[in-house]
């Protein structure tokens, strides 16, 4: 096509810095992890032994691994879903011409500027069973809320903090989507007799399915990044491993326990898991969310 330049080497040259970067810091580490998963590495080096699928067998037969995987999947399903759903509600609300819409559009993206690791302390504070905002509840029903004891509570706390940090990006994407819906589309629906509530369900949400899809896909990977910072600053995987997601377990096994081989093996499995998630997402939804206008 004449909209393209014919040069052969220039594009490679232009893409080279980026390619070098992803090769060095993405593909080689990924490959390295894959490689290590077949070896027993000594922490300080100096000897590694080929063990075939032993590491995989060991990891796959480890209930802790499965429990961490299970928690990861739960987190990856619940976290992004809530983060996108909440953002969607907020975006739909902020898309209306109401007084609060303006400040909200600004305030709601502030968390983007705050690192999970630095807000974790605050959330711990807020959810402290003795002095936090739920403390009065504990006064009424002792032991109702204690993320230090109850794994479900701790998990909930992580999700709430994750959603807090996940709102900005999703909100921006979804709001941009809503704003790109032509006005006549609403007018047409109004003429068809659909009131404002009904239009949300019948028109707005279906029409920003592409954005919702996009946000969901990015949320999966984002949830992993975000989960690490939050777990590290809030629960350290506890209580009793209740919030040990795979990403944190890998960190702990590899960096605290010097189990490079085990960590590498789990890394490769986590990668497969994330990829499966993303691919499943694409397979299930991509076709159904592409509309030609």
């Amino acid at each position: 096509m004449s909209t393209l330049f014919p040069n052969r080497w220039l594009p490679l040259l232009l893409a080279a810095p980026m390619l070098a970067l992803v090769t060095l810091f993405f593909y080689i580490p990924v490959f390295q992890a894959f490689y290590w998963s077949f070896f027993l590495e000594r922490p300080f080096g100096g000897g590694s032994m080929f063990v075939g699928w032993d590491n995989h067998a060991r990891v796959l037969s480890d209930p802790q691994f499965w429990s961490a995987t299970y928690k990861t999947v739960v987190f990856m399903v619940i976290g992004p879903t809530i983060a996108v759903a909440v953002s969607l509600l907020l975006a739909v609300a902020a898309d209306r011409h109401i007084r609060l819409a303006h400040p909200a559009r600004n305030v709601l993206i502030w968390p983007k500027a705050v690192a999970g690791a630095s807000i974790g302390v605050v959330f711990n504070f807020i959810f402290n069973p003795f002095v936090g905002i739920l403390a009065p509840l504990n006064g009424l029903f002792p032991g109702l809320w204690n993320p230090g004891i109850d794994g479900a509570d701790a998990f909930t706390m992580l999700i709430i903090a994750h959603v807090w940090g996940g709102i900005p990006f999703n909100f921006m994407i979804l709001l941009a989507g809503l704003q790109s819906i032509p006005r006549t589309q609403y007018q047409a629906a109004a003429m068809d007799g659909a009131g404002p509530w009904r239009r949300i369900i019948d028109i707005q949400i279906p029409l920003i399915m592409p954005q919702i899809f996009f946000a969901m896909v990015l949320e999966y990977t984002e949830s992993i990044t975000s989960a690490f910072g939050l777990i590290d600053s809030m629960t350290q995987g506890g209580p009793g491993g209740a919030t040990t997601l795979l990403v944190y377990k890998i960190f702990v096994d590899g960096f605290r326990g010097y189990d490079l081989s085990g960590a590498a093996t789990q890394t490769t499995i986590l990668m497969v898991l994330v990829l499966l998630f993303v691919l499943a997402q694409f397979a299930l939804f991509e076709r159904s969310v592409k509309y030609e206008r």
């Binding site: 004449s2 909209t3 393209l4 040069n7 594009p11 232009l14 980026m18 390619l19 970067l21 992803v22 060095l24 810091f25 593909y27 080689i28 990924v30 992890a33 909440v86 907020l90 609300a93 209306r96 007084r99 609060l100 819409a101 909200a104 709601l108 993206i109 502030w110 983007k112 500027a113 705050v114 690192a115 690791a117 630095s118 807000i119 302390v121 605050v122 504070f125 807020i126 003795f130 002095v131 807090w164 709102i167 921006m172 709001l175 941009a176 704003q179 009131g195 996009f214 990977t221 984002e222 690490f228 600053s233 990403v247 890998i250 960190f251 960096f255 890394t267 990668m271 994330v274 993303v278």
Partner: protein, 305 residues
């Protein structure tokens, strides 16, 4: 439109209000606690009312901690990350969209794949690479038998070594390996009028001139949005600077902030100091987001038109 949307508008307002409280609550508590004294927090825990120690606590952050120098590190990381990602992904997207190369889609896929496996999932081996970025080459020597050749010819093996750990550049390069920017620019380029290229060709401009004279000026909005996004993610990134730096003076402010909570040394954490730290660390990006919010939304319409 003539219709009764009151119920919806009230619901929407309530929702936005709740949303803003949700977002602002933790920030408010941070600020309040930062304004209290240590004693206050020791006896009261969370602070919901302002105190008068904010300035004093902030001054302590600047005098008693390494956060000032870590802020400088953060600024470096954030800026370098933003500039680097913008530049590299601009070039890469340009190569992918504007050239008649068959492997363009493949390059794109190769770059975009990085988005599906965050650094957190591969931190251990990334660390190994950062520890000696030539290790792949050395491994290549080993695998290809070149090492033996070197030993035979030179009498010793040739091994290159360059560690990025504990260097500023090492703090940022690995986190730059993401496809977001390339994706953004690709979508944007594809929505540009195709005739611009033809016009530029007729005007005698080659690819580089086209990129510099025409594409770049026209990409300001997404460029700015990406810059802000990447600045923020560079500023807030935690795990990598945590592992890639070993001295406090090399760490970023977010890591330094986390270090303010002592690791079981027996003192009650100085929450006002920590929160004052959080305020100090967040203030710059927060201002940036608040002021440039408009560009962010404009520039992030990622879906194809």
């Amino acid at each position: 439109m003539i219709e009764n949307a009151r119920s919806l508008n009230i619901a929407a307002s309530a929702l936005l209000l709740a949303g803003m409280i949700y977002i602002l609550g933790p920030l408010y508590i941070t600020l309040m606690t930062a304004s209290q004294s240590y004693q206050y927090v020791v006896s009261n825990g969370v602070a919901l009312i302002p105190g008068d120690q904010l300035l004093a606590n902030v001054v302590r952050i600047f005098t008693e901690t390494r956060i000032p120098i870590q802020l400088a590190n953060s600024l470096f990381v954030a800026l370098f990350h933003a500039v680097g990602v913008c530049a590299l992904s601009f070039l890469a997207a340009f190569a992918i969209v504007y050239f008649r190369i068959r492997y363009g889609t493949m390059i794109f896929a190769v770059i975009l794949a990085t988005n599906f496996l965050p650094l957190e999932t591969r931190v251990i081996t990334t660390y190994q690479v950062a520890a000696n970025i030539f290790s792949p080459i050395n491994a290549l020597f080993d695998v290809t038998g070149l090492t033996n050749l070197f030993v035979a010819v030179l009498g010793h093996p040739v091994q290159f070594e360059l560690s990025l750990l504990d260097t500023h550049i090492g703090l940022v390069l690995p986190i730059m390996a993401t496809g977001t920017g390339t994706f953004l620019f690709r979508q944007y380029f594809r929505s540009m009028p195709a005739d611009l290229v033809k016009a530029a060709k007729m005007d005698g401009a080659g690819p580089v001139r086209f990129m510099w004279d025409i594409l770049l000026p026209l990409t300001k909005t997404p460029l700015l949005a990406l810059f802000i996004m990447m600045f923020l993610s560079g500023w807030t990134t935690y795990l990598w600077p945590l592992v890639a730096s070993s001295t406090p003076d090399m760490q970023t402010a977010v890591v330094g902030l986390a270090r303010l909570s002592p690791d079981s040394s027996g003192e009650i954490p100085d929450y006002p100091l920590i929160m004052a730290g959080a305020v100090v660390v967040c203030i710059l990006p927060l201002l940036m987001v608040a002021m440039l919010q408009r560009f962010l939304v404009q520039g992030l319409v990622l879906t194809e038109k």
